[in-house]
């Protein structure tokens, strides 16, 4: 008989296959209910998951997003350039960890994959003093620049 035993502290939490499952969940919603439903789902998720960060952003705490992105990219073991000023948080990445892993395993990211950025963070900024801007998104790699910028006026 073989026995294998592990405690949570024995391993780092990093199961990259979840990127594939996420892609399949979004693919299913798109195929079954259409792309507008995917947008609805991602907005629902953003409202629930980022509820506390949004509340901080309402209080002008852009630093909370700065810390958040530093943490999740560190956990993902993924390179990103992050800069913050009084009015702006900039994130530049040469590739997306999700898209890269999905392709590495022989799958195709859905056409709407960009919405895991634009819809999720657009919803996070809704009603706050900040707007979310995505520029130069490469569908092949997920290379992009993202900006959280204080709204003018």
């Amino acid at each position: 008989m073989e026995v294998f035993e592990r405690k949570a502290s024995d391993n780092k939490y990093l199961h990259r296959d979840f990127h594939i499952s996420m892609n399949m969940l979004m693919e299913y919603i798109c195929e079954k209910f259409g792309p507008a439903s995917l947008t609805d789902y991602l907005k629902d998720f953003s409202r629930e998951f980022h509820k506390r960060r949004k509340a901080e952003l309402m209080k002008d705490r852009l630093d909370v997003l700065h810390e958040y992105f530093q943490r999740i990219y560190k956990e993902e073991e993924w390179e990103i350039k992050i800069t913050i000023t009084e009015n702006e948080l900039n994130l530049t990445q040469a590739a997306c960890p999700g898209i890269s892993y999905i392709r590495e395993k022989g799958f195709d990211p859905i056409d709407q994959y960009i919405e895991t950025y634009t819809t999720v963070y657009g919803e996070l900024c809704e009603g706050t003093p900040y707007e979310y801007i995505m520029t130069d998104f490469c569908k092949e790699t997920g290379a992009c620049t993202q900006v959280f910028r204080r709204r003018v006026g």
Binding site: V3, F4, N11, D17, F18, S21, F49
Partner: protein, 145 residues
């Protein structure tokens, strides 16, 4: 981006979204879709090639990457594979996020996905879900008589 470390709350909300769209039947249909695609080259292939040892190999990797607190036993002579999950990382995470309500049938995705793969290969998958509100469960996979 939805980081792979944030997938579990996204998954839970996804199940809720599907249930609101088409009831629990819709959620189960998605689980079938996922099992047929996601587990095809991993669990199904491992078990088709190696029998119960394929379960051991599949879950050793998956549960280690998920930093689970667990004990697995493989008894090939008895034709049994067991997982004693002392702290499920997924349900544990959902219970820890106190501003989100976990999808109430969240844990049912495990038996739904794994039975669909293992049953046609000649194995029975049973799961004790009585302690999932404390992120604990147990699994028994055995050869069908």
């Amino acid at each position: 981006m939805i980081s792979c470390t944030e997938f579990i709350p996204a998954y839970s909300e996804g199940f809720r979204f599907l249930e609101n769209k088409g009831g629990f039947e819709e959620v189960k249909e998605f689980w079938n879709y996922l099992a047929d695609r996601y587990l095809e080259e991993s669990l199904r292939k491992h078990v088709a090639d190696m029998g119960l040892r394929g379960c051991y190999i599949y879950w050793k990797k998956a549960l280690s990457e998920e930093a689970a607190d667990f004990r697995m036993t493989l008894d090939e002579e008895k034709g049994e594979f067991r997982i004693e999950m002392k702290r499920c990382p997924s349900k544990g995470m959902l219970l820890e996020i106190d501003h989100m309500e976990p999808y109430e049938k969240y844990c049912l995705h495990c038996p739904a996905l794994y039975s669909r793969v293992l049953e046609p290969l000649g194995y029975e998958y049973t799961m004790d879900l009585s302690e999932t509100d404390e992120a604990r469960c147990s699994v028994l996979v055995k050869k069908k008589d």
